[in-house]
Symmetry: C2
Subunit: 318 residues, 2 copies
């Protein structure tokens, strides 16, 4: 069984391109570009909370980096480098090879690199910190939404939650449909290009990790305003749309693990939003509006209130 240093070297050491100095010293060294602010975010993934034991290592490697890149996307930042800390129950070569493959594939697709980290024995735990850059003053924040802004979401919502309900035994799906929603859960696509395209257009943004109601709640709180969401306008897959309305609403509004962007923009920038989305190659859908009155109102296409008891996903709730 190879030791810690061998394992790190074999699977995670690659030539530094963006960093002055990459893996292998006490610290990595980076040279920030002039006029840029650094954007930093950190996410920890724990088995049973953020992924299931059944996930393929390649997909887990992808997801661990994707959920971090999603935070940079929500700020409109360009990803640069990341660190990885990994606790593993044992030095499992096959797991590490697959994990590293999924991780590096996404990193390469985004043009970013691993610059440091740590590996230790312990219950499986994956902690990634990403560092990106954004032109000074142009970061998309949660605090910029204003009354009258349109509310948009990228991609489709709810499939990851639907897949979770299949794993929980609450929902049954045919094989191909299950595989489609399972992929949404296990291989989310961080909307980095969209986030960058929305700089100067969106007034606020957040990534949907804990469910729309909870995440939009953060925007409303930090922006000091309220909102109306048209649940019938929320974009969903053909798999989800075949489910009962109550389950659809649960998956769309309180699903979690979507890793799509929710953002706001002035109504006057509607065409600019659509152009930015085309440029990024991502579908976006208008699904509501920011309102001056505090609180979140969920309505249907006819404007009737939709009863909802959803709140943000709390990692310590029972």
């Amino acid at each position: 069984m190879p030791g810690e240093f061998d394992l790190i070297a074999r699977h995670f050491t690659r030539p530094a391109r963006r960093a002055v100095l990459g893996v292998g010293d006490d610290c990595a060294l980076l040279v920030p570009a002039p006029g840029m602010q650094l954007a930093v975010s950190c996410d920890m993934l724990v088995e049973g909370r953020h992924f299931l034991a059944t996930v393929a290592p390649e997909r887990l490697g992808h997801k661990a980096l994707a959920v971090n890149l999603s935070d940079l996307a929500a700020c409109g930042a360009e990803p640069l480098v990341y660190t990885l800390a990994l606790a593993l129950p044992r030095a499992d070569e096959a797991f590490l090879a697959g994990f590293a493959q999924g991780l590096h594939a996404l990193a390469d697709a985004q043009g970013i690199e691993l610059v440091g980290g740590d590996t230790t024995a312990g219950p499986l735990n994956i902690c990634i910190t990403v560092i990106g850059q954004v032109p000074s003053g142009q970061a998309l924040l949660r605090s910029g939404a204003r009354a009258g802004d349109e509310i948009w979401v990228s991609g489709q919502l709810g499939d990851a939650r639907l897949a979770l309900e299949v794993f929980r035994g609450r929902v049954a799906l045919p094989g191909a449909e299950f595989e489609a929603v399972r992929r949404a859960m296990e291989q989310p696509q961080p909307r980095v290009a969209l986030g960058r395209s929305l700089r100067g257009i969106a007034s606020s943004a957040i990534d949907l990790s804990d469910g729309l109601v909870g995440d939009l709640g953060h925007v409303l709180q930090r922006s000091g305003i309220g909102a109306r969401i048209d649940v019938d306008a929320l974009p969903r897959s053909t798999v989800l749309v075949a489910q009962p309305a109550a389950l659809q609403h649960e998956c769309l509004l309180a699903g979690g693990d979507d890793y799509e962007l929710l953002f706001t923009a002035p109504a006057a920038r509607h065409a600019d939003v659509l152009q930015a989305a085309r440029h990024a190659g991502v579908a976006v859908t208008r699904c509501g509006a920011i309102e001056a009155a505090a609180g979140l109102r969920i309505v249907d296409a006819q404007g009737r209130p939709v009863p909802q008891r959803f709140r943000g996903f709390d990692h310590f709730a029972a």
Copy 2:
């Protein structure tokens, strides 16, 4: 029981001073100073591997940050900000309050701040990523040691390992002596000021986290040279010096968890090293020399070889 967001807000949200934007958005935002390189490092701490269940939460908070700052110290970098990801078996208010107190006390002493992170349920795991800065080209690296350089260490070595042997039941110590070595294990002092003072003087540096033999081995490997260490010259406490020679050697050479700096400097800079150490308020001791011949030779004060079978601490070794 308060929820995740309440817990984070209560214990970890503090006003941003160094960051443009701190905790509470998708990313933190920093403005790097002109002419500086960023230094980034990441360490993960797992119960039973990096700390014992008996540690006070205050000391654990201190140690989790200290071991990361020690990496910045070894690069001669000035710490700026850090992220914290925390997996907790349950939302334990008393633990969090103590942990945050120890963490913030060290952060305040170093003038740095928490800019982001993540909290989740899971087996106890602490992952911190630190970001610092160093003038371009002045970082202390592992690769700069040259034949003829003197080898130095800061502080005293081996007490943390001696404390571990007490916990393991292999060594018995009177209460006051145990408390002294236990403090070395649980509250290491990162040598940040010393690292910065050594810029332009030291030819290489590393922090001693896995034991002198293993960590010096990284320097020798990356610098492509060998070394001689005088084990009798290694600085040790009055507690350790009272132990049998074999145990002393084990603690000094393969102890781990010292978090002192090991560094090299040209013999011509001997006086400059001593002045830098005085300036930083840290004792340093010359304990060997870099030699052209590959390999590490451990000798006593009379130059006789000391048998040793130590290697670096491997987190996956049995």
